[in-house]
Amino acid sequence: MASKLLEKVRDGVVNTQVWRSIFRHGYPSNDGNRALIMFSNVLLHLHPVRVKRGAVKVRFTWCLGGLTFFFFIMLAITGVFLMFYYVPDTRRAYNDIKDLQNVVYFGNLFRNLHRWSAHAMVFSVWMHMTRVFLTGSYKPPREFNWVVGVILLVVTLVLSWTGYLLPWDQLALWAVTVGSKMAEATPLIGNAGPFGPQLGMTVNNDIRFMLLGGTVVGQSALLRFYVLHCLALPLIAALFMAVHFWRIRKDGFSGPL
């Protein structure tokens, strides 16, 4: 009786589109499935075992995904350059940016490359998403990669937002003050959101507090945003990009563009 119920629950979870698009193999109860676990995981098996003929054919594309990736590489390189001079200290950050612009040789070049690449990446990632939507390329079997793409879009936007605070000027301070104020209105986990107060959320224990490391945009927020911007988010983006590109290889391009 109990085992019957358990089986029903299992089928309810496993026999869904979401589960099947993430785990593309059955239980590892035979050699075939055990091998599939390796082959169908980008982290365990970087290059697909089998690539469809159409997937390797180079055709005309809009290049929007490629451009986004190009800007990401550009941002990673110029970002490392900026890290040599920038100190995430509220007393120094603004002056370090001014030094980069006016004192350091080629500092303004690298800063502007970083800044414009960031704007261009946000733009191209939106255009990429629009193209995928208009050509219907989000439909099965590519629905899994669409979801990965949506995650990458969000990561890109958060990267852009966290980088916005680092110059520590008036624009940065108030943009992040406004942006984090929105986090207060998150349902359940924000102190001004629906059911937040009822669950005991206050200014110093909700999601905004966790994000800023304090109740105002101050030194802790600057340091947190710096670490997120330079370390955590680029790593997350790189990981999802690996899955994204690998999935394109597996699924092939969506058709004659």
């Binding site: 350059f81 040599f84 001079y85 030094d99 004192v103 350091v104 040789y105 080629f106 500092g107 070049l109 690298f110």
Partner: protein, 196 residues
């Protein structure tokens, strides 16, 4: 319909013309020029970026302590070794019977900061045990040279001692049974000594 000229390959002499074809067709010439400009431009951009990146790594503004600084008037420093400025300025101000000199408190072995022991009248380095006397001569340990003395002068306006931390006296020491020694009289010359 093809003309006679078009059917000929490059380099084939044209009958009735004195100068032979130069051997490089127009198409080939422009291909080579295009490749040259393209790759040349690409390599120039690459080289320029490499040079810009290299120059970028040499800062033009430093957030470091100043290397030329005032330390006060000579009458503020009594006889013997004054260690007040060791932490802030990495120097010892020493007064003997003849005047004032400034020792740089950097051990000549591997750069640690020695300490002054007044009872022993010795500078002793905590890292590897180098020992210096009050003149900076090496009387023990691995130090290969004597302590540096920094250049000093008197400010003509307020009469304070001005120390140039990077301009240093570094004479070749003589190896003696007592240690590595330098003739003191030869050291007590401007700009490394103040007769005050």
């Amino acid at each position: 319909m093809k003309t006679e000229k078009e059917t000929r390959g490059a380099g084939t002499p044209v009958p009735g013309q004195g100068t032979p074809d130069p051997g490089v067709s127009r198409r080939r010439f422009f291909t080579l020029v295009g490749l040259g400009v393209g790759w040349g431009g690409f390599l120039a951009a690459l080289g320029g970026t490499a040079m810009a990146s290299f120059r970028y790594m040499f800062p033009t503004v430093l957030y470091e302590p100043p290397t030329v600084f005032k330390i006060g008037r000579p009458d503020e420093f009594g006889a013997g070794v004054d260690t007040r400025l060791q932490k802030e300025r990495q120097i010892w101000v020493v007064r003997n019977e003849r005047g004032i000199y400034v020792l740089v408190s950097i051990c000549r072995h591997l750069g640690c900061t020695p300490n002054w022991f007044g009872d022993q009248r010795r500078f002793r380095c905590p890292c590897h045990g180098s020992i210096y006397d009050i003149d900076g001569n090496v009387v023990g340990g691995p130090a290969p040279r004597t302590l540096w003395r920094a250049a000093v002068s008197l400010d003509p306006v307020d009469g304070q001692i001005v120390v140039n931390f990077t301009q240093r006296q570094d004479p070749d020491p003589k190896s003696t049974p007592e240690g590595l020694m330098v003739n003191e009289a030869s050291r007590e010359e401007p700009p490394y000594f103040l007769k005050v």
